[in-house]
């Protein structure tokens, strides 16, 4: 073998690993579980895994878009809590009204975040921190700190029903993934979003509506979070504003980053994000199945995050 093919091969691995490493990791972990974890391949287990990961995937989709603009959104968990708090209040007017109100809350929070970032010029982390701090408190105040049971059959269908043998929740997540991926790849908005993240100044000079794009991105992110919130309520069959979406901002950011989307913006990997969320979910599931507690899972997740980002960094500096 000549030196040139050797070095070519090494470059291959270098560009290949950050791009597909997360799929490889998911694949290896699935293989390991198929062989070494009893009952892993059962339908009920696969269902549980997918149902558990679906809300994280939905939130992570929005987070990926925000991160693509070189932003971050810490408020997603609070938005989920707000949506959860509003549902029992408006369920009396029908499921459509309840869903409508919680989505409207998402739009409102997204507008606040977006305007603070795009027009006032706050750093995204600070802008969304305010809602993070205040939002969940507001949600708990709205719901009077009470855990409320949800009995509306239509809403419960979204959380625990089946369609063609697959949980509705998973369908919804899959459809949202497809929509977001399509918007990102095939629409003007998607191209503008990546342009803003790649170089905001240049995009502004090119005359593109940077502020509008930014505001839209934060609204989309918050709406996706409120969808995740109402689906979580539907799944758990009760609404607890102090618990819904707790720490999900970290899970979502982790999924995005592990999936290969750089925090520096300009590039978004939607399928990678889904794989990132699956990877983190599988790590927990694997550890628990083998009698290793969440402690080990968390430490393993920490290592995965560092490795993923380190590998991606190698490629950037090359």
């Amino acid at each position: 073998m000549t030196t040139s093919t050797l070095s070519a091969r090494r470059t291959d691995v270098r560009s290949w690993l950050p791009e597909y490493g997360v799929y490889l990791a998911v694949g290896l972990l699935v293989l390991y579980n198929v062989f070494f974890t009893p009952y892993f391949l059962t339908l009920s287990n696969l269902r549980i895994q997918l149902i558990q990961v679906a809300p994280i995937v939905i939130v992570a989709l929005g987070m990926a878009l925000v991160i693509g603009t070189e932003g971050i959104d810490l408020s997603v968990g609070s938005v989920m809590a707000l949506a959860a708090a509003l549902i029992p209040l408006y369920l009396g007017y029908g499921v459509v009204a309840a869903i409508g109100v919680s989505l409207a809350a998402g739009i409102a929070v997204g507008l606040i975040n977006g305007v603070l970032v795009a027009r006032v010029g706050l750093q995204p982390i600070v802008a969304t921190l305010a809602v993070f701090v205040g939002g969940r408190g507001l949600a708990v105040v709205i719901s009077d700190g009470q855990l409320k049971d949800i009995r509306n059959p239509e809403l419960l269908y979204l959380g625990s029903g089946d369609l063609l043998g697959i949980p509705v929740l998973v369908w919804i997540a899959a459809v949202l993934v497809a929509i977001v991926a399509f918007v990102l790849r095939r629409t003007v908005f998607g191209r503008r979003l990546l342009a803003v993240g790649g170089n905001r100044r240049a995009t502004e000079l090119a005359g593109l509506p940077v502020k509008r794009v930014l505001i839209t991105v934060y609204v989309v992110c918050a709406v996706l979070a409120s969808i995740a919130g109402l689906l979580s309520v539907a799944r758990i069959q009760s609404s607890d504003a102090s618990a819904v979406g707790l720490l999900i901002e970290l899970s979502a950011i982790t999924a995005v980053v592990v999936g290969g989307t750089p925090l520096t913006g300009g590039k978004v990997r939607i399928l990678g994000t889904v794989a990132g969320a699956l990877l983190m979910q599988l790590v927990i599931a694997t550890m628990i199945k083998h009698d290793l507690g969440p402690s080990t899972a968390e430490m393993a997740q920490a290592v995965i995050i560092l490795v993923a980002v380190y590998v991606a960094r190698e490629r950037k500096t090359r």
Binding site: G121, A130, V131, V133, L138, L250, L263, Q301, L306
Partner: protein, 326 residues
């Protein structure tokens, strides 16, 4: 530009600068005066002591966070380190006072060191590195407490006294916080390390060109942050008499909020510890006021803190723009 114009713009400049630097302090005074006027129970010395004791651990964490943010970084791991520090202190208290203090400090400083080394030498984003440390430290804490099911009770009376004792009517914790804050101010204002911290936050590349030890400074800043978070956890364990394994303490974001309210820019390079002190006390006073109103849901505290944060940062940003324009 005429002479009067220049004079006027200089004056705007000065006023804006003062408001930016002392804004949190002014708001704090206003809120305290309001509380004194409205809540009779607020007016006791006991209550002031309560506020200060409660503010001591967040103060220590925010102190470390101020250094980190001044360099343009962020440390998301401090909440986990705070909880870990508390569990470690309670666990180690069976070996006496010294162990109860040193074990959490050593472990948390080591995690801070790992953060610092990764951030300084691999150029990975502080946000990500410390996010991983948040998970890792929480995992460690859970492993130590049998997945959160074991609560270690403080077994050293001497260590317990550290949390409950008082001197001149003020808890030891408050004295500790005061001393460390003063040291922090001195370090920032009078030492080469402090200058490096500001320089790196101002412009990392320029500092490197000027021969500032960028990497070394960064490493130390994260060690300091980890150390202070661990210490805060330890003194909290001493106060409560046990290492509480409450998950998702969220202290990191409270600390960031306090620092930001205190006028330190998240982009680094500008800010002060005095501002952070005001920020922490402001959040503490709001919480105390809400406790005074018996029938008010304590979750209002979060709402009001969030609103304060939003207003303060918006005002700061607008002022900053004014100054640049003038």
């Amino acid at each position: 530009m005429s002479a009067t114009d220049t004079a006027r713009s200089e004056r705007t400049d000065r006023i804006v600068g003062v408001v930016q630097r002392q804004g949190a302090f002014a708001v704090l005074v206003t809120v305290v005066v309001f509380a004194l006027a409205v809540f009779p129970d607020f007016r006791s010395l006991d209550n002031a002591g309560t506020i200060l004791v409660a503010a001591a651990p967040p103060m220590l964490i925010a102190l470390g966070m101020t250094f980190v943010i001044l360099t343009g970084g962020i440390d998301l791991s401090v909440g986990s380190l705070y909880v870990l520090g508390g569990v470690l202190a309670a666990w180690a208290s069976r070996y006496g006072l010294v162990a109860a203090v040193l074990v959490p400090l050593a472990v948390c400083a080591t995690i801070g060191l790992v953060n610092g080394l990764l951030i300084a030498y691999t150029r990975m984003a502080p946000f990500i590195v410390t996010l991983a440390a948040l998970l890792g430290a929480r995992g460690l804490m859970r492993a130590l407490s049998d997945e959160g099911s074991t609560t270690y009770v403080v077994q050293s009376d001497a260590f317990g006294t550290l949390g409950t004792g008082s001197l001149l009517g003020l808890g030891y914790q408050v004295w500790l916080a005061v001393v460390l804050v003063l040291i922090g101010m001195l370090v920032l204002a009078r030492t080469g390390f402090g200058q490096s911290v500001y320089a790196i936050g101002g412009s990392e590349d320029a500092s490197a060109l000027m021969g500032v030890g960028v990497r070394r400074t960064k490493v130390w800043v994260y060690v300091l942050s980890g150390l202070l978070a661990g210490l805060a956890g330890a003194i909290n364990a001493a106060k409560l008499g046990s290492g509480v394994t409450v998950l998702g303490a969220g202290m990191e974001l409270d600390a960031i909020a306090a620092v930001v309210i205190g006028g330190t820019l998240l982009t680094g390079g500008a800010g002060s510890i005095a501002g952070t002190v005001a920020g922490v006390l402001l959040l503490g006073v709001i919480q105390n006021m809400i406790n005074q109103v018996g029938d008010l849901n304590s979750n209002w505290q979060q709402v009001i803190s969030g609103v304060f944060l939003a207003v303060v940062v918006v005002v700061q940003t607008v002022l900053d723009r004014l100054r640049r324009a003038s």
